[in-house]
Subunit: 254 residues, 2 copies
């Protein structure tokens, strides 16, 4: 079985990269072969796993038609590989819009790639441009991180409309893996209000696991490690292991 | 005198909108006529000032060539007006790339607009696409919010390279208004490390004013008000008034 999950939300700073990196690392430590694809030109997921040079990666696969096998890198962790981003990827947004099949390139690359991965996790940029649309068309499902903040709540409706439009026109099989609440701080009234609001309107979509605000999650990238290799007993590590468990159980039937 | 300042950083969630809204409100309360332009399709700045319907705004000015005067709305505050964003703006990113003068449209719109505003503040999306490039070409200077987080630090170098490229090719007069540290939490080692790092490498660019993490700043948008109309004695309000003062003094000679 192979499940492709895009981590997407056009609102910035809601925890897409933190979720992509730590969910991937948690799936890998639970013995599920996982590939993390970084299609954000900022390449935060790539550097958060310690890869700070410029590597051949997803840009070369999309634009130069390089073989995906040639660009995948092994990480320090067993069962976790990465297809890195690079600076050139910023140009891909424009280069893609001149091609005919601009929206389905990633889907066909991944289709041809007969791989051994059980999970492919795609970290997206904070936009709904060509690269993110490519990810939403290539994916089986989309995981939506939502920060426990008012402005993050506002954008959720628009994102769900965009996903509905993609489901109708471009990828009938796209499901919503779930809405993941991030940076939750139980001491703040605002955090609780946003959580209650999401539970009220999207109770069937929200993950049981809630990611709490935890400084270890934001320190880990500076050491080039996921939280579980940097601070194994932190709240952040435990939260993401629980999320991985929830995703695995949900997809047992997949 | 008129100063056009773009608030830009392709890293998401670093406080661009919070800065655009609260700096604008602070400049207005200090008796400087200010126009806030929202060119982020998420239209967070528009809703943070209480405008939650769909209005004619910057999209109509850029694509339909509507007069800017017809789209400007007065806010509850004296000396503060807004040129709102709208959902259609998401389409403008693509529509712009088909036009010849795609990068200088906003600049010529603002040039023709003989206005009475002393400050025009432009809130940008978390990307370096056509709309943000338009803002950087139309602006006299760019204010760069940087969250006190490792991942936000990473992207700063790339952003300064992009600004240099724009200064060389598209807008020789573009200055850097300053680097504004946001969401600073003095109790966190990470916050202090990031602040020290920025001071070490960019000491000539950093504002004296530092914006502290303050929940009133994130609650205010849900009431459709800037912090100074929602929680006048909060740290957030004081921080942004000090920032406005620093910007005014710096631009006295302008
Ligand atoms: N649960 C958490 N607790 C504390 N800090 C967090 C948490 N999740 C993310 N962060 C920090 O918040 C910032 C934003 O998170 P992140 O970069 O993962 O969001 P993003 O949605 O990927 O941003 P972008 O929109 O720029 O891609 C980062 O500095 C990250 O380290
Ligand atoms: N100093 C602060 N203290 C506490 N919360 C803050 C502060 N500044 C911003 N926030 C909150 O952090 C979140 C991100 O801020 P904001 O939306 O202004 O960033 P942005 O850079 O405009 O995001 P985007 O990249 O999506 O445009 C918002 O929910 C905001 O309310
Ligand atoms: Mg990210
Ligand atoms: Mg914003």
């Amino acid at each position: 079985m192979q499940k492709i999950i895009a981590i997407a939300n056009q609102k910035g700073g809601v925890g897409k990269t933190t979720t992509a990196v730590n969910l991937s690392a948690s799936l890998a430590v639970l013995e599920h072969k996982t590939l993390l694809i970084d299609i954000d030109p900022q390449s935060n997921a790539t550097s958060a796993l310690g890869f700070t040079d410029n590597y051949k990666g997803i840009y070369e696969c999309i634009i130069d038609k390089d073989k995906i096998e040639n660009c995948i890198i092994n990480t320090k962790q067993k069962h976790l590989d990465i297809l890195p981003s690079s600076l050139d990827l910023a140009g891909a947004e424009v280069e893609l819009s001149t091609l005919d099949n601009k929206e389905t390139i990633l889907k066909s690359i991944l289709k041809q790639f007969k791989s051994k991965y059980e999970y492919i996790i795609i970290d997206c940029a904070p936009s709904l441009g060509n690269l993110t649309i490519n990810a939403l068309i290539a994916a089986n499902s989309v995981l939506i991180p939502v920060q426990c903040e008012y402005l993050a709540l506002e954008g959720l409706g628009k994102l769900l409309n965009t996903i509905k439009m993609i489901q109708q026109n471009l990828n009938q099989n796209l499901e919503i893996e779930g809405i993941l609440m991030t940076m939750y701080d139980s001491r703040l009234r605002l955090s609780n209000q946003v959580l209650d609001e999401i539970k009220k309107h999207f109770n069937n979509l929200i993950f049981k696991t809630i990611i709490h605000r935890n400084v270890k999650l934001s320190e880990a990238p500076s050491f080039g490690k996921p939280a579980l290799l940097y601070a194994v007993d932190s709240t952040g590590t435990v939260n993401y292991l629980k999320l991985a468990d929830e995703v695995i159980i949900k997809n047992k039937k997949y």
